[in-house]
């Protein structure tokens, strides 16, 4: 299990290859890659701020809970901090499990929690100025799906 905050660009494929290689008992690896959308040129540099030491711990707790709940073999979370240009990857989550349902649900839940509950502060900076972004209503309701012990099964 690994949680990494990184200030430079990363290649999601290289992470997936490293995460997948050598697994003998995991039948399923699900990955999620979140990209900064260009939105037809209207956006904008994203600036992501984390609280070093605190943010990793909070994400690690989310990852540990997912490993336990979904019987995962392994989890990787890599999250960018600092300025992020349109088209660049912001976040990568991978989950390995014996079977695919658990791997899908784990990656899905981790992303919902990351998007709404991870300790990041995110600013969008463009020609119209800068604004702080908050989780959307959908981010919040998506995350709430997982607050029951087993809402989907």
């Amino acid at each position: 299990m690994k949680v990494v905050l990184q200030s430079g660009p990363f290649d999601p494929g290289a992470l997936l290859t490293a995460f997948t290689t050598g697994r003998r008992e995991s039948g399923a690896v699900v990955s999620f890659t979140g990209l900064a959308r260009a939105e037809g040129g209207s956006t904008d540099i994203l600036e992501l701020e984390a609280y070093e030491g605190f943010t990793e711990t909070a994400i690690l707790e989310m990852a540990e809970a997912a490993v336990k709940r979904f019987h995962l073999d392994d989890v990787l979370v890599l999250h960018r901090v600092g300025p992020i240009a349109p088209g660049e990857a912001i976040v990568f989550v991978a989950a390995a499990a014996a079977h695919r349902r658990e791997a899908f649900e784990a990656a899905d839940q981790l992303m919902d929690y990351l998007k709404s509950r991870a300790p990041f502060w995110k600013k969008s900076v463009g020609p119209g100025g800068a604004r702080w972004i908050e989780p959307t209503a959908r981010d919040k309701t998506d995350a709430e799906r997982w607050d029951q012990p087993d809402p989907l099964t």
Binding site: A118, W121, K122
Partner: protein
């Protein structure tokens, strides 16, 4: 005394990110910041703002030493 960290919009509001402040308790620190900058003081007790003492969320009071790190965390954006 404590090392105080501000995040997100609180940092923009205060105009600083890190500062050492004379205080021996979390409530004393809040009062000192309020005295220095009433707008910031008000924001620190605003909705959804949490305080972390040495990287653990604290609700209520906590003693501070010169080595203590206090962070004020506005509502999180998520990743």
């Amino acid at each position: 005394m404590a090392r105080v960290l501000l995040f997100g919009p609180l940092r923009d509001l205060a105009g600083w990110r890190e500062k050492t402040v004379e205080a021996s308790s979390l409530s004393g620190l809040r009062a000192a910041l309020q005295a220095q900058d009433p707008l910031l003081g008000e924001a620190l007790s605003g909705p959804g703002v949490q305080a972390a003492v040495d990287k653990a969320i604290v609700r209520g009071e906590a003693p501070l030493t010169a080595l203590t790190e206090v962070a004020f965390l506005p509502p999180m954006s998520g990743g």
